[in-house]
């Protein structure tokens, strides 16, 4: 489905992406760089070994303010927002009554009466409609503030030292999945120790008109253009990095057809926190057990598995690949797929139907990649 380029939304960094040789593609209604002149593999490897910079300003932000902010968010999400303290973030999911997934998101707690939900770009409008339709008298004020923020992700082992040159905020003191308000190059920002690459790093939120300044300063501070310097990274590297790290991508591993338990997201499903949308269905599924499960696999033949291809076990079509790709750091061809629960065992041999050719693979533990701490 091609959307005319004129109708695509642009982040504040669109011109800078083009200047850097970004190859622009449509993603969730946005005109985004899939890669820059350096290419996906170099971008991926540099993020693992040094640092990568990602424009994620297309992500959506929804503000929840008011006395019942926590109660309201807890009603529509699966994780327990009441466990958050000020300055902490949490991975969670918006669930349907069937326990399937409207979207995955981060919940940031600024104060007891102020949470910020960060949602996927392509689902922001759907999420906003879903969330606002679930407000039934709670004392909260909801606001879609997506246009009020740019978001830049600085990821990789050198992320902390690079960002520290631009801020007096002591970054090492921000724990994983925590955030602070601070000035980055003098720009009022939210500095969050989160990311989607499997590396240490930060996501910086600020006013959109400051995006160009922050982006350029981070590239300069990271010695962009030098051999071990930071690289601007496109969506393709973002995808391969998250896949190596075994993270779900909405629309691939999770959607309105998959439940949280099937997707190994039991750890963000808090059935004992009180009622929430989908709790009954998820409780029932937990008692009865899941019928299929998301697994990681590694291709053992020559060939690359791709999204949507069939998975076969003993010649029978039993599931589908949700994400399949070369893994640039691991130098393997990997993927994730749903398979019947009873066959979701480590080392189970499977086959992938790669455009009519059956390619052997085996089930391996997730995540594929875990950084040394």
């Amino acid at each position: 489905m091609a959307v005319p380029a004129l109708d695509l939304k642009k982040t504040p960094l669109n011109d800078l992406h083009r200047e850097l040789g970004g190859r622009m593609v449509e993603f969730g209604g946005w005109d985004m760089p899939v890669q820059y002149a350096t290419g996906t593999i170099t971008e991926h490897l540099r993020t693992r070994t040094h640092a990568g910079l990602f424009d994620v300003s297309h992500m959506g932000e929804i503000d929840v303010r008011g006395r019942e902010a926590i109660a309201f968010v807890n009603k529509i999400t699966s994780n327990d927002a009441s466990k958050l303290i000020d300055g902490q973030a949490q991975y969670s999911a918006l669930t349907t009554p069937q326990g399937t997934v409207i979207d995955d998101l981060l919940v940031y707690r600024f104060a007891e009466d102020h949470l910020l939900l960060v949602v996927n770009a392509g689902t922001t409008d759907k999420d906003w409609g879903w969330i606002s339709s679930h407000q039934t008298g709670e004392a909260v004020k909801l606001q879609n503030v997506s246009a009020d923020y740019c978001q830049i992700a600085l990821q990789g082992p050198d992320a902390i030292s690079i960002l520290q040159t631009l801020t007096e905020t002591p970054l090492a003191e921000i724990k994983y999945y925590h955030f602070v308000r601070g000035a980055v190059d003098g720009v009022d920002s939210i500095i969050s120790r989160t990311g989607y690459t499997g590396e240490d790093g930060y996501e910086v939120y600020a006013a959109p008109e400051k995006a160009g300044q922050l982006w350029s300063k981070m590239l300069d501070a990271g010695k962009f253009g030098s051999e071990k310097g930071i690289l601007a990274c496109g969506l393709a590297a973002r995808n391969t990095l998250r896949l190596e790290a075994g993270m779900c991508l909405y629309g691939h591993e999770i959607d309105e057809e998959t439940t949280l338990f099937e997707a190994n997201l039991g750890w963000i499903t808090k059935l004992n926190k009180g009622d929430f949308v989908g709790r009954d269905a998820l409780t029932k599924q937990k008692e009865e057990g899941i019928k299929r499960k998301l697994v990681g696999f590694e291709v053992t033949d020559r060939g690359i598995a791709r999204d949507g291809q069939d998975v076969l076990i003993d010649g029978e079509r039993v599931g589908k690949v949700t994400s399949g790709s070369p893994a640039p750091f691991l130098k393997k061809n990997i993927g994730m797929a749903y398979v019947p629960f009873e066959l979701a065992k480590l080392d189970q041999k499977i086959e992938i139907d790669v455009r009519g050719k059956r390619v052997s693979a085996r089930i391996v533990p997730l995540p594929f990649y875990k950084r040394a701490k």
């Binding site: 190859r23 899939v34 890669q35 290419g39 996906t40 593999i41 170099t42 991926h44 393709a236 995808n239 391969t240 020559r302 060939g303 690359i304 791709r306 790709s325 070369p326 640039p328 455009r355």
Partner: protein, 130 residues
Amino acid sequence: MANVPDNLHYSKDHEWVRVDGDTAVIGITDHAQDQLGDVVYVELPKAGEEFAANDSFGSVESVKAVSEIFTPVTGKVTETNDSLNDEPEKVNKDPYDEGWMIKMKMRNAGEVDSLLTAAEYEDFTKAESE
């Protein structure tokens, strides 16, 4: 700007053909490799297989995408570039030389005359990207 050597013939599917007697050496163009990005896998036919012009004879894959490759001419495969199994990046680095893909014995050497010249191919890629 993509490199388009004068001495080759080009297809609208972005393959090039170098004629050497009745043998056609076939690969993908600089423009094609640039559009694909880092090539990580090349699937080629076996020597002896026969293809008609415009048949798919294999595929080339980047991190993100799979592209079929088509034979611009009719004939029988005599040799394939097996070094691409271990070094698919040759397609990016040297698409017209070390990145060649197959050699074919042409059934009808006149077929190359219907392909694009370098100048025509350059115009074609410009028009395509507009």
